[in-house]
């Protein structure tokens, strides 16, 4: 029983990370049709800045972690918005060029991070409580999982509230459904594009800071490794669906944990098989709309 609880909560924590990355990817694809391969770079950059901030303020305090999360969110938002304004805006409806530019940016940013922070992982410290465990039904759960889950739930709620109760949220929800009709109502939908990139970048930035606590280090490859699973989550959940991203994040991460433990470390393989099954049975994903 304790093993099941441990795997479940650890899976939820990992799912929280996947969601923080996948939510932005999904919204960006849903509204703009852009597959953003540079999304992992936003995460890595924010993780490094968060780490530097926490180091400067005293890495083992809650205040430093809080400021690191804010800095990570701001860094992710600014870099993502800048990417949209400077690179992506010229390439809407040009999908091949989008892929080339975002893949190129991802590769170049890893080289840049290597140059600035080195290729070795930078091991991090945080508040002591995060490194401790809490016993639940006999399972000793690392406390950082609770933080990940709590922050992901807060981010999900904030995004939902933004989408439901703000004018930009209304424009984004309408734009995901029919972008050209939003334009035909006299709305400059490109501003919403920048806002969505910034929101996605902020979520990824928060994910970057938290990922460094989940794994215990930050490295130039951090974003790239999470991005692969975030893409899988986005496809399984349904491109453009925020609830889909949330549900698929939990399903993928929990399945991955259980398969790793009970099926001899085959978690990644099982996730890819799940992706194949979803694409065969329900190509638009769990919550995606029919084309």
């Amino acid at each position: 029983m304790s093993t099941v609880v441990l795997l479940l909560v650890t899976g939820l924590g990992l799912g929280a990370l996947y969601f923080l990355v996948a939510s932005g990817l999904s919204l960006i694809y849903g509204l703009m049709g852009v597959l953003n391969f540079a999304h992992g770079s936003f995460l890595t950059f924010a993780a490094f800045l968060g780490w530097e901030t926490a180091r400067a303020l005293g890495a083992d305090t809650w205040g430093a972690l809080g400021v690191a999360l804010l800095v990570g969110a701001a860094a992710g938002a600014i870099v993502a918005a800048g990417t949209e304004l400077l690179l992506i805006r010229r390439l809407y409806e040009r999908h091949i060029e989008q892929v080339l530019v975002t893949v190129g940016l991802a590769l170049a940013s890893v080289a840049l991070f290597d140059g600035i922070w080195g290729t070795d992982p930078q091991f991090i410290r945080g508040p002591a409580w995060l490194a401790e465990t809490t016993e639940i039904l006999g399972a000793r759960i690392p406390n950082n999982r609770f933080l990940l889950i709590a922050v992901a739930v807060v981010v999900l709620l904030l995004i939902v509230l933004f989408l439901r109760f703000t004018r930009y949220g209304l424009i984004i929800r309408a734009g995901v459904e029919n972008r050209s009709m939003v334009t035909a109502l006299g709305i400059d939908v490109r501003r919403a594009f920048t806002v969505v990139f910034a929101i996605g970048g902020a979520a990824a930035g928060i994910g970057g800071v938290l990922a460094s606590h989940y794994f215990g280090y930050v490295s130039p490859q951090l974003g790239g490794s999470l991005l692969i699973f975030a893409f899988i989550v986005t496809v399984i959940g349904g491109l453009g669906s925020l609830p889909g991203a949330a549900v698929a994040s939990v399903v993928v991460a929990v399945l991955q944990q259980f398969a790793n433990f009970y099926l001899g470390g085959t978690g990644d393989l099982v996730v890819v098989l799940l992706l194949a099954v979803v694409l065969l049975v329900r190509p638009r994903g769990l919550f995606g709309r029919a084309a």
């Binding site: 929800r173 459904e177 939003v182 334009t183 035909a184 109502l185 006299g186």
Partner: protein, 237 residues
């Protein structure tokens, strides 16, 4: 004659590399309804989309009350007072009726009273998702979105398409009321509706305007109606 609300000269437009409008001239006078008529695939909807910049314009001039708008992006054209009611309604299915209307509001004082007066049925369904409305109700939402703002002209594309006869009558009545407050450029396959509403007609064939003139003269010449549209003037196309 006063300055036309909308003047289109030599409009050409394409989708991808495929020309869909080759040379269209038309004018809409203040306080009037001009109907664009033509056979299926003639280029009527593409003309509307070309005016709005929803498809690529490749030649021609478009003026709104004497001011060139053909170099502007779609949202800028709409902001200058061009309301659009698309073919197939294109309401946002996952949004509620109220959200569809709120999204369309551009003016500081949107004409909610007019919309409530014209479309009481949809106002009563504000909390309902637009995708669950009937085709006629969705058409009302689409018309209401365009009427909420003080537009200089409405471009309305096949508003009665696919509707039951009773709903066609309701939509035609709503259009007649709308025409009292704003000029309309109307694409309409239903000749009875076009005849009822329009003061002028433009006939498009093969992406070109081939006839323009008063609606009464056009519909009086049944041979011409049959030759240009392939239907009898009294029939529904």
């Amino acid at each position: 004659m006063s300055t036309p609300v909308l003047s289109v000269r030599g409009l050409a437009a394409s989708i991808g590399h495929q020309p869909v409008v080759e040379h269209v001239d038309l004018e809409v006078q203040p306080g009037s309804v001009t109907a664009i008529l033509g056979r299926n695939g003639a280029g009527k909807t593409s003309t509307i989309k070309g005016i709005l910049g929803l498809i690529a314009r490749t030649a021609g001039e478009v003026e709104l009350a004497g001011e060139r708008i053909d170099g502007l992006a779609t949202h800028r054209i709409v902001q200058r007072g061009v309301g659009y009611v698309p073919e197939d309604r294109e309401v946002f299915a996952s949004l509620t009726v109220a959200e569809n209307l709120r999204l369309a509001e551009r003016d500081a004082s949107p004409r909610r009273e007019l919309v409530a007066e014209l479309f009481p049925d949809i106002i009563a369904r504000q909390a309902q998702r637009a995708g669950t409305l009937s085709g006629g109700q969705q058409q009302m939402v689409s018309l209401a979105r365009a009427l909420l703002n003080e537009n200089r002209i409405l471009l309305i594309d096949e508003p009665t398409k696919g509707l039951a006869p009773k709903l066609v009558t309701e939509v035609a009545e709503a259009l007649a009321r709308a025409a009292e407050v704003v000029p309309i450029l109307l694409v309409e396959q239903n000749l009875q509706v076009a005849k009822h509403l329009a003061q002028s007609v433009v006939v498009i064939a093969g992406g070109r305007s081939v006839h323009a003139g008063p609606a009464s003269e056009f519909f009086a010449d049944e041979d011409r109606v049959e030759r240009l549209l392939g239907v009898h003037g009294e029939a529904h196309a």
